[in-house]
C-alpha cells in the first residue's frame, strides 16, 4: 500500500476532485439517456445532400450578383432620400415664413406679462386704439346698466375727481 501511494506521488498524475466518486454517475446517466433516445428523430428529404453542393454554389454566385444590384438600389435610395430631404427643407422654410408674428398667435399671458414688466402708460395703450375702436368701447359702455355704473362710481371714484374732469 505504501509502495503504491509512493508510486502515485512519483507519477505526478492527478485527477479532478471527486472524479472517481462521480464516475459511474457520469457514465451511467449518459448511457441511460442513450438507451431511451439515441437519435434526434430529424429526417432529411431524399437526396438532399447530393443536390446540396450545386445549390450552395448557385447561392454563392447569386449573392455576388445581388451585391451589384444592392449597390445600384443604394444609389436609388440615396437619390430618393435627397429629394425627400430637399422637399422637407422647402416645406419647413415656407411654413416658417407663413408663421409671422400675429396678435392672434401670441398667448394672452405673454401680452399681460409684457404690459406689466415694460411699464406701459395708459396713454401708450390709448395711442394704439383707432377712433373706430374707441366708438366700439363707447357702445360697450352703453350696455352697462345705470345701477352698476352708479355702484362703480360710488365705490371707486372720488367725487372731487369727477368735478375736475367736468371742467
Amino acid at each position: 500500500m505504501k509502495k503504491n501511494s509512493l508510486k502515485n506521488i512519483e507519477s505526478g498524475f492527478k485527477v479532478p476532485k471527486d472524479y472517481f466518486e462521480n464516475f459511474e454517475d457520469r457514465l451511467l446517466s449518459e448511457l441511460a439517456l442513450k438507451e431511451t433516445a439515441s437519435h434526434s428523430g430529424f429526417k432529411l428529404p431524399a437526396d438532399y445532400f447530393e443536390s446540396l453542393d450545386n445549390k450552395i454554389l448557385d447561392a454563392v454566385k447569386n449573392d455576388h450578383k445581388t451585391k451589384v444590384i444592392n449597390l445600384f438600389s443604394f444609389r436609388k435610395i440615396a437619390y430618393a432620400a435627397a429629394v425627400a430631404a430637399s422637399l422637407i427643407l422647402i416645406y419647413n422654410i415656407s411654413y416658417n415664413k407663413n408663421e409671422g408674428l400675429n396678435i392672434n398667435n401670441i398667448e394672452t399671458a405673454s401680452i399681460e406679462n409684457y404690459i406689466l414688466t415694460e411699464g406701459l402708460e395708459t396713454s401708450d395703450i390709448a395711442s394704439l386704439f383707432s377712433d373706430e375702436d374707441l366708438s366700439e368701447i363707447t357702445s360697450v359702455k352703453n350696455t352697462i346698466s345705470s345701477e352698476s355704473l352708479e355702484n362703480y362710481v360710488l365705490e371707486n371714484l372720488d367725487i372731487d375727481e369727477l368735478i375736475t374732469n367736468n371742467d
Binding site: F42, K43, L44
Partner: protein, 180 residues
C-alpha cells in the same frame, strides 16, 4: 484527403478558389447541416441557414487568419448564423427566443422531416429547457459526437467547463424525461 492548410491556401488564391470552395462544401456540408439543424430544428430553416453560412464563409475566407482551425472557424460562423436566425424570428414575431424555440418544437410534431415518436419529441422539449449554451454543448456532444477539444475551439470555452456543462445537461434532461 487534402490538408486543411493546402485548402486554405487555395481558398485564398484567386485562381483556385472555385474548385477549393467546392471541395470545402462537400467536406463540411453534412456536419454543418446537422449542427445548424439541431439549433433551428426545422429542415427548411436549416437549409436556409446553411446556405447563408457558406455564403459568409466564401465572402470572408480572405479574413481567415488561420489562428484557429478552418473547421472551428466554420462551425463558429454556422453557430452565429443559426442563433441570429432565431433572434431575428423572435424579433419579427415580437416574442422571446425561448418562445420561438417552443414554437419550432411544437411544429415538429407535424413536420414530415421528423419521426413522430413521442420520445424524440420529449427529448427535444427537454433540450429546450436548458440555457442556450448548454443546449449547444449537449447537441454537439450527444448528437454530433464532437470531441471536447474541438468544442473548446469552437465555443472558446475550456474543456473542463464544457465537460461539466455537458454532464449537468445530461442530468437535467434525464430528470425531465423521468418527470414528464
Amino acid at each position: 484527403m487534402i490538408l486543411e492548410s493546402e485548402l486554405v491556401e487555395k481558398l485564398k488564391s484567386d485562381t483556385n478558389i472555385d474548385s477549393a470552395f467546392k471541395e470545402l462544401v462537400s467536406l463540411y456540408k453534412e456536419r454543418l447541416y446537422w449542427h445548424i439543424r439541431h439549433i433551428v430544428k426545422s429542415h427548411d430553416d436549416a437549409d436556409d441557414v446553411l446556405q447563408n453560412t457558406f455564403i459568409k464563409v466564401y465572402k470572408n475566407i480572405g479574413n481567415f487568419k488561420g489562428e484557429s482551425k478552418l473547421f472551428s472557424w466554420m462551425y463558429r460562423i454556422a453557430t452565429n448564423e443559426a442563433i441570429t436566425f432565431i433572434n431575428k424570428n423572435a424579433k419579427r414575431l415580437q416574442i422571446t427566443n425561448e418562445e420561438t424555440q417552443t414554437i419550432a418544437i411544437n411544429n415538429l410534431a407535424a413536420d414530415v422531416y421528423f419521426e413522430g415518436e413521442a420520445i424524440q419529441l420529449k427529448l427535444q422539449k427537454a433540450i429546450a429547457t436548458l440555457p442556450q449554451k448548454q443546449q449547444l454543448v449537449f447537441n454537439m456532444k450527444y448528437f454530433e459526437d464532437l470531441k471536447f477539444k474541438d468544442m473548446s475551439d469552437i465555443l472558446e470555452t475550456s474543456e473542463g467547463a464544457l465537460k461539466a456543462s455537458y454532464h449537468i445537461a445530461v442530468k437535467k434532461i434525464q430528470d425531465y424525461l423521468t418527470n414528464n
